[in-house]
């Protein structure tokens, strides 16, 4: 065996970490350098702390590979993984600090789709849906000063009464339970839909394996998604939650914030509004006012 040269190379666990950190020293962008060095330190610390075995490493490689391969234009398994590990909510808390009084944000989730249809105020984004209880959501979009914002966009999406998003139903060839509503001059909006239901996040992929291996449930409390935006304001990505949902304290993706919980009132008699909107009885109704912070300079 012809071997050994006088040079010294990484031979211990800590040598390797030091050498990897050193390799990032020449990174031109200081933020990229900071992120890569911090990530290296923390990922290496995790591996050392648990003494990760080669077999476990192979499992992780396979898990991450399959997570990426499950993603397509209808499914984002990496966002689901981020959501179920609390990463999304942590980034939300750090990244989306809002001034007092502004509507709080929550997870974006894996089910948003670009290009949802623009809908007139008061129209039904659950059109054609025979299941579920009709529901009217109304409110005003204002600035921190309480002044209504005209022309604010509410990009709205929701699981259907069976607990599935349109993107989870391969037989659907059109968008369903989605719409972009635009506030009028008074900042008000009216959305007709079905009352949101709690549902299980998709468990037929790597995230489902993780939840089963750790005996975690996969329920999300009933909610409607919104991205509310308007020129000159900071957009907010958020949900409204149904206050009677039993899973409010156990959301599989840790998304619940107290300020986003709404009372959905049940109506067994028609109201003037439900008659005007053509909404059948019984129905439920709730109100939520979005307050946008000014755009960052």
């Amino acid at each position: 065996m012809t071997a050994t040269t006088p040079t010294k190379r990484a031979t211990t666990e800590d040598d390797i970490t030091a050498e990897v950190l050193r390799r990032y020293e020449g990174t031109p962008d200081p933020r990229v350098k900071q992120i890569m060095q911090s990530l290296t330190k923390h990922i290496h610390a995790f591996i050392k702390e648990v003494g990760l075995t080669e077999k476990e490493w192979f499992h992780a490689i396979d898990f991450l590979t399959r997570t990426g391969q499950m993603c397509d234009e209808r499914r984002q398994e990496f966002i689901l993984l981020s959501d179920t590990t609390g990463v999304s909510m942590l980034v939300d808390l750090i990244s989306n600090k809002k001034p007092i009084g502004a509507t709080e944000s929550t997870v974006f989730g894996p089910f948003h789709r670009d290009g949802a249809p623009e809908r007139e105020l008061g129209t039904n984004m659950a059109e054609g849906e025979e299941r579920g209880e009709p529901c009217i959501i109304t409110g005003t979009v204002t600035g921190l000063d309480g002044k209504p914002i005209s022309g604010a966009k509410l990009d709205t999406w929701q699981a259907d009464p069976g607990g599935f998003y349109d993107s989870q139903r391969p037989e659907l060839d059109h968008m369903h339970m989605r719409g972009i509503y635009t506030t009028g001059a008074d900042g008000k909006y009216t959305i007709v839909t079905t009352r949101p239901v709690h549902y299980q996040i998709p468990s037929d992929g790597p995230v489902g394996e993780m939840l089963r291996a750790t005996k975690r449930h996969s329920w999300r409390p009933a909610h409607v998604h919104f991205v509310v935006s308007a020129e000159g304001y900071e957009p907010v990505t958020t949900h409204i939650f149904d206050s009677i949902d039993p899973d409010l304290n156990g959301d599989a993706v840790f998304g619940v914030k107290d300020s986003l919980i709404c009372e959905f009132r049940s109506h067994t008699q028609p109201s003037a509004e439900s008659q005007k909107l053509g909404v059948k009885t019984p129905f439920s109704a709730t109100e939520f006012n979005f307050v946008l912070a000014p755009a960052k300079k």
Copy 2:
């Protein structure tokens, strides 16, 4: 706005981490529980330390998704990511602690393929290759006691003289520069190939983006890959490296260990062995003895 219930939910960055850790409390397998809780702590600590923004998070989701989607039966971009971030070598150091005297291991890498052809001792795994310098690699596989191991398998693979593995050449319909050699009764092996060359790891995917963004080079010093295995012994995944390679101290995947560096001697005259094997002059030759540790009980 109808809001707030008396329940208390995660409202700070540390609340979220505590709640995620709590969700893993019911994990039946203590090892899975340990890994998930440690991973949560370290990933959350990283995100808090750098104050990861939503935009950076989206970039990470997209990066990981594309890394998974680049993987197929010929390419494993997640292993490449693990290799280039020092994770693979760290796991190797932790997982493959060998007794003194046993051949050291190094990274597996992304280019191994199952089902390489079984080759007779002394045959050329670079057959048909017109480029590169012919090379003879010989040695013995023994136990820690120095006794030769008969029937040991050497699963061997290598980049071609142009610096590419067969799996990187879509026009190739057969395996090239690979073979499984089996030691005889004397534990000896003889492999004919070409002298390994240094090469750049694939940079047309997310890993290449990372290397460019951090101004890291993508060179690996010249090496030949081996997985050496025999019944009753612990297999070893390793390389041998060419001692004259200028990149021995800067391997893009941190794989070099001193004990794996070999002198490849240049021969300008035929030797008895090169004549017997039909190897053209000039050629190079090296010798490496593999020492296997006994199988773990």
